[in-house]
Amino acid sequence: MGKIRRGLGGTSLLLAVIMAIAACAAPQRTTSDTDGDQAGGTDTGGTTQPVAAVIKGLDNPFFQTMQQGIEEQAETTGTEVTVQAANSLGDTTGQADRVQTLAGQDYGCFIINPITQTNLVQPLVQVANAGKYIVNIDSPIGEEAAQAANLEISTYIGTDNVQAGRLAAEEMARLLPEGGDVALIGGVAGDATSQARLEGFQQGIPDNIRIVQTIAADWERQRALTAAGDILRARPDLAGFFVANDDMGLGVVRALADVGRQGEVKVISVDGLQDAIRAVQEGTLSATVAQYPYAIGAMGMEACQAAMAGETLPENVTAPVVVVNQSNADQALESFPRPFAEYEDPFADLLGQQ
């Protein structure tokens, strides 16, 4: 009896804690209009169903900006949106569970940013069977897997990571007209994004620049810092680093600062985080190839809105990628997180046609 009572006590305590947390956390499902009264997007025809977005993770500014893009775009038209994320970049099954949970609810369109090419295919089949739209952003769902599961993806919006690498290589060539040795610091070895960026860089560099080493720093700033220090010691004549994301890039900048070679050894990274753009402004980071997760998120939302309005979507859309260096860093920072330059947005056109 006492045991049962204690058990009940524990359970109710647990419930209380969960509810307290739920109350503390900002509501996941946000009606976009801030006024509240003016419920549910009247301007796109009143029939707008809510949209669900499941992205990779929120422990990284990249995805936070993506979320911001999704939510702000939803706000402009009064679409209701729920943004969910995996616990971490390794949480493939957790992400699938979230999609599964949302699939049974009344969302009209799903914005999906899968961790791997296949981890969301199974739960998405359910979504597709219910006649809901699937907009794939950032990381692609594997084509073969999608075909095998008979999964129809309305559109794919993503940055071309190979292209980003190529742009970085061009920038590196511009910075090192004489050529020289460069080292590559990637994310987790074998990670598709990291791989594509490094590949693009390799494709894009001229012959007088030699890649002497490639290291996997697992997307961790501290590891990139240590590795860069080690490489600099082994190769004192190294001319530059290409780093697969900004976070690690800032670690490399720190390693250069430690040995007093900031600015002398060139560092180019990818992502276009605010801190990275600031570092570019200060001249410690040579350049960052800015991807616009904000634009990706916003375009994903636009795509959903267009699809639900009955428009036919283009199959593949490339999100903008821009090199931010000292010449345009101020501008980039000013308009952050939005792209500072015009970019092609077919969805905006579709929505505009309405």
Partner: protein, 319 residues
């Protein structure tokens, strides 16, 4: 007089368990010889300084893990506490509370999480594995909530000096880690608490029968681990110049690997402080050497895994 009170060192050398305790040191020496032959840079002063600097955070974390494992437990939350400590530091600093207060808060936070771990494990009688797995998640969640998922750049002169400053040829980080290690060694082998810790880990029932408050010992071990993880959080923040909520999972795995390499029994009650410290150095030296040699990124994790398993095997055979 029927006992010999002397402990001749020769006798110890012939004792296989002596070698088991020193597997990491033997492996480290072999590794140093190998790398110094293969790379001219490896044994330079600059590289050794950098290697020790890079190992310092792991060493501090590993010592906390060692204390916990010596009680027969395990602390899976060390890396998350480190992240949380770093984030607390960042938030406090960005609110203008001063770097001293910020650092102190980071350490206090770590200590508190350790205290909670210990209390739940010892008083709640819940398996260490489950509890620290829970606090792993909770601490990294708290770090995300506190920071709103955003890193904070910290360009504080004190932290910068801590990360880059040197006393003679030795970095402050290294001195700090060495001080932590020396204190931890003395506490373990020259204090009542240390003996009771070993007794608790070796045979909780026996320790309890002799009147040792084993719950208190376990709680203290988790507090120490949490506190050291908090300190490691300060060091990490100083090193990267930013407080990031991103998880540092490699620290967790490396801290456990270093403890095991250091000859500490995972069942508790048996081990040293120096062993795991050498284990941490070994793991750092391995990555350092492979990087200097420009070994492909695909082979590095493989090499680390092989060394860990080989060392564990060596230890197993020698026991």
């Amino acid at each position: 007089m029927t006992q010999a009170t002397t402990s001749p060192s020769w006798e110890r050398l012939r004792d296989p368990s002596f070698w088991a305790d020193w597997t990491a040191a033997v492996a480290l020496v072999l590794l140093i010889i190998g790398f110094s032959i293969a790379s001219p840079v490896f044994l330079t002063l600059g590289n050794i300084q950098a290697l020790l600097l890079a190992a310092a955070i792991l060493v501090v974390l590993t010592i906390g893990q060692t204390y916990v494992i010596l009680t027969g437990g395990i602390d899976l939350s060390v890396a998350s506490i480190l992240t949380l400590g770093s984030v607390v530091l960042g938030q406090a600093y960005s609110r203008g509370w001063g770097i001293g207060v910020a650092c102190l808060l980071a350490i206090v936070t770590g200590t508190l999480v350790g205290l909670i771990n210990g209390l739940v494990i010892a008083k709640g009688k819940i398996t260490d594995f489950i509890v620290t797995l829970g606090s792993l998640s909770a601490a990294s969640g708290a770090a995300l909530v506190l920071s709103n998922g955003r890193p904070v750049q910290i360009a504080d002169p004190f932290l910068l000096r801590l990360a880059t400053g040197r006393l003679g040829p030795i970095g402050y980080f290294v001195i700090l880690a060495a001080i932590v290690a020396i204190i931890a060694h003395f506490v373990l082998f020259h204090s009542r608490f240390g003996t009771h810790l070993l007794a608790t880990g070796g045979d909780t029932e026996a320790a309890r029968a002799m009147g040792i408050n084993t719950d208190r010992i376990k709680i203290t071990a988790y507090i120490i681990s949490g506190c050291l993880a908090g300190i490691a959080g300060v060091l990490l923040t100083a090193r990267v110049g930013a407080a990031e909520p991103a998880s540092n999972t490699s620290f967790l795995l490396n801290s456990v690997a270093a403890v095991v390499l250091g000859g500490v029994s995972l069942f508790g009650g048996r081990g040293t402080v120096i062993g795991p410290v050498v284990g941490a150095l070994l793991l750092t030296a391995l990555v350092n050497g492979l990087t200097l040699l420009a070994v492909s990124q695909f082979y590095q994790p493989l090499a680390v895994g092989i060394v860990v398993v080989l060392a564990a095997l060596l230890m197993r055979y020698q026991q």
